[in-house]
């Protein structure tokens, strides 16, 4: 991307995130993504505009949503000639969508685009189990009614039990929280530190709402105007009362310092500086570079959610930057323990030497620069929608401060990590 054209982040729009089985229970991924996209179109007057492309995804997806993003575009006020496609990289989907759009802009293949993502854990796809599926598919292939009857007669009650998507890694059978509890223990992440991070997340998100930071980043949806998970009055003391849910006896991870299941959608508008000028839009920040890493959490002994710890140093090296060369940090708070373990890994001479092959640790960051407008612990984390939330709010925050550099780090299922740098030229 260094050699390509500048990629500008021009704005974003999302709907408030709702808790699972809450106000968005009956909204589909397409409903929510449409709401977010329509809000974006309205805000930036993109009605009838043919954009270069729209890229989005959803982690929990119905089979009918095979063309979710294109269907969303067709239902939106964008020109129907705007192409679209779906992508998926678990919790990294939203940021990876932005990278995909940014890369095409940088290469000169498109001048503008929207990246986004939606996820619902309420309107989740429920599948028939494999045995029933086989019978049903066979039924479909069978021609004679007698044969069909024979097939139906084979059905057993056990085959009717549906398959509900589970929040677990297929190769380990362990939930993401279970994996992170191992990481928390390995890195000695104390309960108090996790609760402090969670409290700060709520404090920062509430503060951002109060000063109107999200006014031009959000469209109210189904009566919700703020993220439903936000507890503005959350404190370390209150969080300390919660029982651990992961890590067994002596566990440190609670419902308070882990992200809840949630529903929501987000979008980000990207374009060239010229396209922005033609449309009378401010450049909030430039999308400088991105990196994706993966770790072997199955056999390699690395933590499931520690891939960003590998991705960031690679990105820094490519850009000739240090970890301290940033004014803002947006580290996705899947779990407070994940964030703290990542920060500790970068501070640890042993990890940096043995795993990253560096003579010096990356060092620590100023915590006052971390997730200054709230993180996933407060806003919640509809998987594919998190990337868009972070890119848009970081770009705006850089624009507000009149310049600076921001680092985005998002961990994802399957031992993956997506990271990116946004920059706002200025003072």
């Amino acid at each position: 991307m260094n050699s390509g054209r500048n990629v500008a982040v021009l704005g974003g729009n999302r709907i408030p995130f709702a808790r699972s089985n809450g106000v968005y229970s009956n909204a589909s991924n397409q409903d929510m993504l449409s709401a977010a996209l329509d809000g974006l179109v309205d805000r930036y007057s993109l009605q009838g505009e043919r954009l270069g492309e729209v890229v989005a995804g959803a982690v929990l997806k119905h089979s009918r949503d095979f063309n979710l993003t294109r269907e969303t575009v067709l239902g939106s006020r964008l020109a129907p000639e705007t192409p679209a496609y779906d992508i998926g990289q678990a919790c990294g989907t939203g940021l990876q969508a932005a990278i995909a759009v940014a890369n095409k802009i940088a290469l000169g293949q498109v001048d503008s685009g929207v990246a986004g993502g939606a996820d619902t854990t309420s309107d989740a796809p429920i599948a028939v189990n494999d045995e029933l599926r086989e019978v049903l598919l066979e039924l479909n292939r069978t021609k004679s009614n007698v044969d069909r009857l024979k097939l139906v007669a084979k059905l057993r009650p056990g085959q009717i039990v549906p398959e509900i998507p589970r929040n677990e890694e297929p190769r380990t059978g362990k939930s993401m929280g279970g994996h992170t509890a191992v990481t928390a223990k390995e890195w000695g992440i104390a309960r108090e530190d996790q609760d402090e991070l969670a409290a700060a997340s709520h404090r920062n998100l509430a503060g951002a709402y109060d000063r109107g930071f999200y006014d031009d980043l959000m469209t109210p949806y189904l009566g919700l105007e703020r993220d439903q998970n936000l507890r503005a009055d959350s404190t370390v003391e209150k969080l300390a009362k919660l029982k651990p849910v992961f890590g067994g006896e002596g566990g440190t991870m609670t419902a308070g310092n882990s992200t809840p299941l949630s529903d929501g959608a987000s979008t980000v508008l990207l374009g060239t500086d010229e396209w922005a000028a033609e449309h009378g839009l401010d450049v909030l920040a430039h999308f400088r570079d991105a990196e994706t890493a993966a770790v072997d959490y199955v056999h390699g002994g690395e933590g499931l959610l520690l891939a960003p710890a590998y991705a960031v140093p690679r990105l820094l090296d490519r850009q000739g930057l240090t970890l301290q060369d940033f004014d803002l940090y947006e580290i996705h708070e899947a779990f407070a323990a994940q964030v703290l373990a990542t920060l500790k890994a970068w501070e640890d001479p042993v990890f940096c030497k043995e795993r990253l092959g560096r003579d010096e640790p990356l060092g620590s960051i100023e915590r006052s620069k971390l997730n200054v407008n709230g993180g996933s612990l407060a806003a919640a984390h509809p998987f594919a929608a998190t990337g868009g939330r972070i890119v848009a709010s970081l770009a705006k925050a850089l624009h507000e401060r009149g310049g600076g550099r921001g680092l985005i780090s998002i961990c994802a299922a399957g031992g993956q990590g997506v990271v990116a740098i946004l920059e706002k030229e200025g003072n």
């Binding site: 000695g188 104390a190 640890d348 001479p349 042993v350």
Partner: protein
């Protein structure tokens, strides 16, 4: 081999019974076999902030191939990274639940009595992670080597902690305090390896002092005495034979010495070890010259001298004739002085020579009927104190081991109540073996033990007597 009582109470039914009625259940102690790792498990390294010994500790562990976890201090993590030790992290506020075979705590950062709370912080969380035959080593600064009265007081306080923790250990665990002088941080290797390994099975509650010395030589840790000549007095049986065996295992050519009357036994021991026998009565006025001449002529000098020969002639002082007194003092103490002086005068000691002498728990605690013996053995401690600076100028060291209840022919002949009391009145609730004394001597004898001079270390399972 565990004694009969230990074997019985470790059998399933008897174990339940013994536990129920509150009898001690001694854990069969793990002991070293050639080829064994230094530590059969992981070590956890903790530190009070501002310490200077955590880094050197981590370096030693890395060199000894001991897998480790450390607390998250800059010093420890830097040292681990520099040493290429892929050490896990451990946090007392959020312990991982992992088990450890050994804990090493750098207490040198405890410069005030308030900071003694660091001991509680670490061990309160860490002690439960220690498994069977576990090892605890606390590192500090010699009180006299501190820079303020408060630091002196705090460092002296460590001794009460380690001695008490030794008594709280279960399952054959041991606890030691190692005082390391300023500037002697590079001398930790041989001592940490010994105290962490099963070689120190019967050493607990001890205080070891490591002083400044020249750079320790690079050695083969499996054969530290390769090419060295070691004189062992009283080598024909018991502890002496065990010493000869262990020094030979470590690569030394052993010159076994004993009285002519025990010549057959002596030759049996030395021939099996590929050593040589020297039949001399150490009380003979010519003995020092005979020994020095033999070592010079046959071996070109000597590297290790172990003064093990000793006798008991027990009587209460009122009933003791002068002969019993004189004989014990002469064999156990005066003859050692004469031999050492001759070896010094004749320059028979090779560079980096090691004198190791055998004191006794009786010399520390005193014992009914052993005024002569205890005097001689306390004198051995005095000799170590007085001669350490003398040997230092000759580039040599002198240290002593003080055995407690060691299972030998002598103790086997004791009346049952006395023997049982001797065995159980220690933190490890059992007697030691001759090899335990021999391993401690081999530790002092190692060429790497440059920083050890003037120490008397008990091999007594932290016996209650004199502690």
């Amino acid at each position: 081999m565990a004694d009969l009582y230990t074997q019985i109470v470790n059998a399933p039914v008897a174990n339940t019974l013994a536990t129920t009625v509150g009898l001690p259940v001694p854990t069969p102690l793990e002991r070293h076999s050639p080829g064994d790792p230094v530590l059969d498990g992981r070590a956890l390294v903790g530190a009070a902030p501002g310490g200077r010994l955590g880094g050197p500790t981590v370096t030693v562990l890395a060199g000894a191939g001991v897998p480790a976890a450390t607390e998250s201090t800059e010093e420890l993590r830097r040292a681990a990274a520099d040493a290429g030790l892929d050490a896990a992290l451990w946090n007392a506020d959020a312990p991982s639940g992992d088990k450890f075979k050994a804990l090493v705590f750098d207490a040198s950062g405890i410069t005030t009595t308030e900071k003694l709370a660091e001991l509680h912080r670490f061990f309160h969380a860490a002690i439960r992670t220690v498994g069977r035959c576990g090892r605890v080593v606390v590192l500090g600064t010699p009180p006299a080597d501190t820079s303020s009265p408060g630091e002196h007081t705090a460092q002296r306080a460590l001794e009460g902690f380690t001695r008490s923790l030794g008594k709280e250990m279960r399952g054959g665990g041991t606890v030691q305090l190692v005082y390391v002088e300023q500037g002697a941080e590079g001398q930790l290797d041989s001592t940490l390896r010994f105290l962490l390994s099963p070689k120190s099975a019967y050493v607990s509650g001890q205080v070891v002092r490591i002083g400044q010395a020249g750079e320790p030589p690079t050695i083969d840790w499996d054969q530290p005495l390769e090419g060295k000549v070691a004189l062992v007095t009283g080598a024909s049986r018991g502890i002496g034979a065990a010493i000869a065996e262990v020094l030979a295992r470590d690569g030394a050519h052993v010159v076994g010495l004993d009285i002519p009357a025990l010549g057959d036994d002596l030759r049996t021991v030395t021939s099996e070890l590929g050593g040589s026998a020297l039949e001399v009565d150490v009380t003979d006025p010519d003995a020092p010259r005979t020994i020095a001449d033999h070592l010079a002529a046959e071996h070109g000098g000597v590297d290790v001298v172990v003064h093990n020969a000793g006798v008991t002639r027990d009587k209460t002082i009122a009933g003791m004739d002068e002969g019993r007194w004189r004989q014990v003092i002469d064999i156990n103490l005066s003859s050692q002085e004469r031999i050492d002086n001759q070896l010094l005068a004749a320059e028979t000691l090779n560079d980096g020579a090691r004198i190791v002498t055998v004191s006794s728990m009786s010399g520390i605690a005193g014992n009914n009927g052993q005024t002569n013996y205890a005097t001689s053995k306390a004198g051995v401690i005095g000799m170590v104190d007085s001669m350490a600076p003398v040997f230092a100028t000759a580039g040599a060291t002198i240290n002593a081991v003080a055995p407690g209840f060691i299972e030998t022919q002598m103790t086997a002949a004791m009346p049952v109540p006395v023997r049982e009391a001797g065995r159980r009145m220690s933190s490890l609730s059992q007697g030691g073996l001759p090899v335990d004394v021999a391993e401690a001597i081999a530790w002092f004898a190692s060429p790497a033990s440059t920083g050890l001079n003037g120490n008397t270390v008990r091999v007594c399972g932290q016996n209650l007597l004199g502690a």
